[in-house]
Symmetry: C2
Subunit: 623 residues, 2 copies
């Protein structure tokens, strides 16, 4: 059929695609290709239509298409996109066989398959297409492409075939000249470099001195210099390390500059001086990044025990500190001083039990060890040391006063938890009522003043949880640390407990959850205190504590269904966005609250805390 004019070029796309699919299914690649070229159909369809079939018939495809230009066209048009899902959707009942190698890119699969086919058929004829297949890979393999060109120059093929010159020109057409020049350098083949440089219209005054300097170098150092020039630092390290110990300073500097410690360590045997030096530098680096524990490990590995000790001390790895001191063969008095200093820092972090081990075992200061254990409420361990070192006098002078102190502090703490809890709970029901009324539209214009005055009038609830927690005496350090922790926690609360704040109900829910969790967590501590109180016959105090704590736990347990009602879901949070809100009010509320956190994080607010009911903290003898 001869073309019959303009009208003929209008094709219905669906019909065309149907025809192409038919062609492809029949392996009529030639017809497909020409049709697609003529009608500007994206060539990716040849593969995407049925990847498996295409790959099984790559040779047939190459043979049918035959033209180098056509093949180059096909290769350059390849994209990762699957055009059967984007541009040319497939009709329902197609039988496409997907390839189950998702980690390999489509373009790479095709390039590799095409290249294999072409090299098989006629590597000379398809020389340029083969080059294209290297260049087109998602990580272009320019070195190999250049190598191919170099081979052409070394062993020129028959006159009919593509010359090295032509091939290089073609490559320069495909790839930026500077990039190609860098990659030619990367082959360490100066012939190749000069070849590319000459074609590149680069100024020889610019590159020749550099190349000449390189040529004079020892091979490994030369390659290192090139790698470094090309910013391939890992490769550079590999070459530099082969240049012998006289270059180790340069090596270490490169490692430090480029932060390549782990790579560098792989290049030297574990026992060597160089290995040690790299580790040492690594340790310094980690220390400078405040990664003291890891720095300590690295220092310890390379025998820098002094530095390791300092690093471990900086992160309170007290056991490792003592190991290092032992390595350094500290005399007893130095060991004791070290133990005291580390213990002091542990106490600051409320780690009295560890500090006590140091004082007992390295400083042999049993009394201070016991004092620390009492301070840390480690009652049984304190008793053990009191008996072990026959310091029964400390039962009266230290243990009993500490017990009474701890009891009083617990009582005060539980009392404050109880009152904050009750206040928040009450306030929550008030806020919910008001919100519900607002939702039902009961608050019309004339009562509009109501909610605000109500929201602010409840004077008893003006104190916040954080105010309360700081209210009582701080004599027992453990408990005062708890309150300051609470305070810090309160400060970074997401929602404001301020009365009338738009998300006050959420803030209350959050605060109530925290109080419950905080109180529930005390089971172990209270249990342990109760036992020692009973042991020293402080029965009434123990009974009182057990009663108060039990009542508080019951209050909380019974309040949970009331606070976390079934219909409290993240949805209610949106009630600030209810019918009564305006764009402005919503803006204001969001600005007040800061950025609203992602809903899944907030979601846990709407789940009732789970109490540790399985732990039997109560003493039956106190009931």
């Amino acid at each position: 059929q001869m073309p019959r004019g303009n009208l003929e070029t209008i094709h219905h796309r669906a019909l065309v695609l149907a025809r192409l699919r038919h062609y492809l299914d029949s392996l009529m690649f030639k017809e497909t290709f020409e049709c697609m070229r003529k009608l500007r159909i994206n060539l990716n369809l040849i593969y995407d239509h049925n990847p498996k079939v295409f790959l099984d018939n790559v040779s047939l495809f190459v043979k049918q298409i035959e033209s180098v230009n056509y093949i180059n066209l096909f290769l350059t048009e390849l994209k990762e996109e699957d055009v059967t899902t984007t541009m040319y959707p497939v009709p329902a009942a197609s039988h496409k066989q997907p390839l189950l190698v998702p980690q390999v890119k489509k373009v790479d699969i095709i390039c590799d398959a095409m290249r294999a086919a072409m090299e098989n058929i006629d590597s000379h004829k398809y020389c340029l297409s083969i080059l294209t297949s290297y260049v087109r890979k998602t990580k272009p393999e320019l070195e190999i492409a250049l190598q191919k060109v170099h081979e052409l120059r070394e062993n020129p093929p028959s006159a009919k075939a593509v010359s090295a010159d032509e091939a290089l020109k073609y490559l320069l057409f495909l790839v930026d000249v500077n990039e190609l020049y860098d990659h030619s350098l990367g082959t360490y083949d100066f012939d190749l470099v000069v070849m590319v440089a000459e074609k590149s219209q680069k100024d020889p005054k610019e590159y020749l001195p550099f190349l000449n300097k390189l040529k004079k170098m020892e091979t490994n150092y030369q390659r290192y210099t090139i790698d470094k020039h090309l910013k391939k630092y890992k490769k550079a390290l590999g070459h530099l390390c082969k240049c012998g110990p006289e270059h180790f300073v340069e090596f270490l500097n490169l490692v430090k500059d480029q932060n390549l410690y782990t790579e560098a360590l792989k290049l030297y045997p574990a026992g060597s001086d160089e290995y040690k030096a790299i580790n040492d530098a690594y340790g310094e680096y980690l220390s400078s990044k405040h990664q003291y524990e890891q720095a300590g490990l690295i220092f310890a590995r390379c025998g820098s025990h002094e530095k390791a000790l300092d690093a471990f001390a900086a992160c309170n790895s007290w056991q490792q500190v003592m190991c290092m001191a032992s390595h350094l063969q500290y005399p007893a008095n130095k060991m004791a001083a070290l133990a005291r200093s580390v213990a002091g820092k542990l106490v600051e972090q409320r780690k009295q039990t560890a500090a006590a081990v140091l004082l007992e075992q390295y400083a042999e200061d049993y009394e201070e060890a016991i004092v620390l254990l009492l301070e840390g409420a480690a009652w049984e361990e304190a008793l053990r040391l009191i008996h072990k070192y026959k310091r029964l006098d400390m039962l009266e002078t230290n243990l009993k006063p500490a017990l009474i102190d701890a009891h009083r502090n617990q009582m005060v703490f539980l009392d404050s938890q109880q009152s904050t809890f009750t206040r928040h709970k009450h306030r929550l029901s008030v806020v919910r009522d008001l919100k519900e009324k607002a939702r039902l539209g009961l608050l019309d214009e004339e009562v509009a003043e109501g909610p605000d005055s109500d929201l602010f009038s409840d004077t008893s609830s003006i104190m916040t949880a954080s105010d309360m927690s700081g209210k009582y005496s701080h004599s027992n350090s453990r408990i005062s640390s708890r309150t300051s922790k609470n305070r810090r926690k309160a400060e970074r609360k997401k929602h404001s407990l301020k009365e009338g704040s738009p998300l006050e109900d959420i803030a209350l829910l959050e605060a109530l959850g925290e109080i419950i969790r905080g109180t529930d967590k005390l089971r172990y501590e209270v249990h342990s205190l109760l036992k020692v109180l009973v042991l020293y016959e402080y029965d009434s105090q123990a009974r009182e504590l057990q009663k108060i704590y039990d009542e508080l736990l019951h209050l909380m347990e019974n309040s949970i269904p009331e606070i976390w009602t079934l219909n409290v879901t993240p949805g209610t949070a949106a009630s600030v966005l209810g019918p009564n809100s305006t764009a402005n009010s919503i803006m204001t509320s969001y600005q007040q609250q800061g950025k609203i956190n992602n809903p899944t994080q907030d979601a846990e607010l709407f789940v009732a805390p789970k109490l540790m009911k399985s732990f039997q903290w109560k003493l039956s003898l106190l009931q």
Copy 2:
């Protein structure tokens, strides 16, 4: 107005109640009472209509009603129920003032108020009503009522007033005679007892010998005997303890019989022999109830250190065991043997760190202590002891093999977690799809075989989590303990993971949550292992472990939104109860699952586990 016949007695209740409310609001008690009596309206309304107003006007009420019989009628008809919420609902706009003393019972409030008013007005006239007010209390105050009768007999009032005889008869009319007799005994007033006994038509041959025997006794012993007769054991103890040391055996027997140890302890001073004897008995009792720790405390209090030691040993309170041994002044070799035996039991409970302290400090077996610490993966503490006791040889012989072992076990465990997780996750999506299809009714008759075959065909998922966890070597005791724990956990799972079981999706959700929590919890353990691996230059193993664990955590984190989708709520559990289910299928599913747990407990299954992302477990040097 004169009565005009039958028709007149038909009243509209709402009208009647309205009239009564009006009377009550106007304090017209007389009219109210007569109307209510005539029309059989429950007399509680008098109070319930407006408790505050009634209580403020009790005297007026008594004066208006005046009749002793009427007052008795009113008192005997009192119930806790609020009739304005049950029998006679209040119209919308009533202004009832509720009393805010919910802990005091309504009946008691009224009885006390009425009695005060009547005694004020004329205690002789209202004598019987006053008695009624004692009897009607929720805890009848029969002793006081009897005392009143006794007073009447001692000081007979004017002839016009009620005589003691009449009063007693009235009491016997209100209260069962045996109960009254017991209460008269409880007053320890034999006049009263005989008075009641005579009126009671009891056989004098029955009660006189008993009373005569009692009369001969010393007062405290007499009262003890009466208390015991009336089964008032706590009161009996109080009286018996005043009878002097010759009765202590009897006392102790009563304490043991009635399990009144804590009450008994309050009756003797803390240092006394009796106090010690009671404590001792208490300890025996607690031991017999397997409350060894409390038994130990009680024995220790009373100086029974030997028994205390045994009790503490029975509950592995190892520190207390050593304290008791110290009290008993065990020689070094006995101390060492004790330490070894307790350590052995601690190891059985996977408490290697505590066991190591015992071996180190009491048996001075440093090598075994270090071995235990390695077994317990307490790497840093093991290193500390290795250095402290200069056993660097154990680094090669014990620490490194233990490290390699721990690494391998962690790898195997993580691998099994990963595969179980992936399998369950896949299965969950299959089950959900099937349920969704079933819900949409896509599975009609002809595909009805589909779900079952599909539900069972997925052979890869036939193994359950518990099968898997037992699959690998058990060489590292800590990890094998973990798997056996898992197995036990799996056994007590609420829902069946069996394929096709009606709540399989819930079971999968539960299993997935457990796997995630179990894996997430390993952060500390893995972190600690990684550090020691790095210290001893097992970099590749450390890197491998970090990579695998990191990937697993990421897999879990990324899967969470998929598993705990927003529309997974407890509601979906009900899909077994969907439109396709029949009464039989529901029954079967419930029987298969056993009793369905309460929904709030199950609710936590529907909340995604929270990962401990804040803990930096990874070592940057391994990246």
